[in-house]
Amino acid sequence: MNMNSPEPRSGFAQEIDAVTLARARRGDVSAHAVIYKTFARPCYTLAMRVLGSPAAAEDIVQDVFLKLMDAVRQYRGDAPFGAWLKRMTVNAAIDQLRSQRHIGPDDPERLFANAAETGAVLAADVHDVMALLQRLPPRARLILVLHELEGYTHKELAELFGQTESYSKSILSRSLKRLQEWLNTKPDVELQAWPSRS
């Protein structure tokens, strides 16, 4: 992960104190609860952005935290705790997309073929940034979210997908271009960031 990039918005940059971490390693459920309280929101937000479904995002958070309760014993602090947890969340999201065969083909042309058929953005969608994002193919959405919002570099994305850096650059470029095209269909509409919601 590129540690020189600006602090991610999702809150994975938060830290866990050493005492809580030590208690969590010993299997203390109250320490697990502290970690959950700190990171549940960024974890759920990342899953929502990638998967677009509350039920799927809840499954991801549950999987990640259940895994964390065991894996925290092996956490040695080589990477910041939030970065470690983010990686677990991303891997869980990719696994879920793969298991549902939603990850899409490797070929960028084929990846965007279906997205092209969705046509112009509906008026209601234009106001909903999330809905706009969900119009992208899952793999493209994942790359866009990880690069633009979570600070992943193209090198890291290439490793994550087993592809070259130019591959993720190409997917990202196409994704942004597609978003711009959809936005241009309603140039008079001012996009507003949505407030946080449960």
């Binding site: 697990h32 609860a33 959950y36 929502m48 978003l179």
Partner: protein, 150 residues
């Protein structure tokens, strides 16, 4: 806008909403964790019990079956142990050389008989001999007399 300049920020999409998980999610995770721990514990103890049973079964198959000991033989063994304890507990045990040699010879014969898996019919007379020698030694020690056996 040039393609390379595109970003979520330039598209004014950087302010994506953040989401809070439903409040009951942690309770579900805790419950799932507790169920998983219980299941692991059950699996562990089942596996441990399985290993114990497997080892017991293996021992039963590999090890030769212990010969059934008639109660008469057990009685002789027990009697012999009691006499041995009494004799060992004497303040001044009477222990002539020939009796020690005889006792040693009986014990050697007993050991050899057990080593070859001898039957109770062969073992019982040897235990009787041992008991007789021990009884004699105890009696003589009590009397302070000399052992005389024909």
């Amino acid at each position: 806008m040039a393609e390379q300049e595109l970003s979520l920020k330039s598209l004014r999409l950087a302010g994506l909403p953040e989401f809070d998980p439903p409040p009951q999610l942690w309770a579900r995770i805790e419950a799932a964790h507790a169920r998983r721990r219980q299941q692991r514990r059950l699996t562990y103890w089942s596996a441990a019990a399985g290993v114990v049973l497997a080892v017991a079964g293996l021992v039963a198959v590999v090890a030769p079956p212990a010969p059934a000991r008639p109660s008469a033989l057990l009685q002789l063994e027990r009697q012999s142990q009691e006499l041995e304890q009494v004799y060992a507990g004497l303040a001044q045990p009477f222990s002539p050389l020939e009796s020690e040699v005889e006792l040693h010879a009986i014990e050697t014969a007993l050991q050899q008989a057990y080593d070859r898996g001898a039957a109770a019919e062969e073992l019982a007379p040897l235990w009787e001999q041992r008991n007789a020698v021990l009884s004699s030694l105890i009696a003589l020690s009590a009397d302070g007399a000399q052992l005389t056996r024909i």
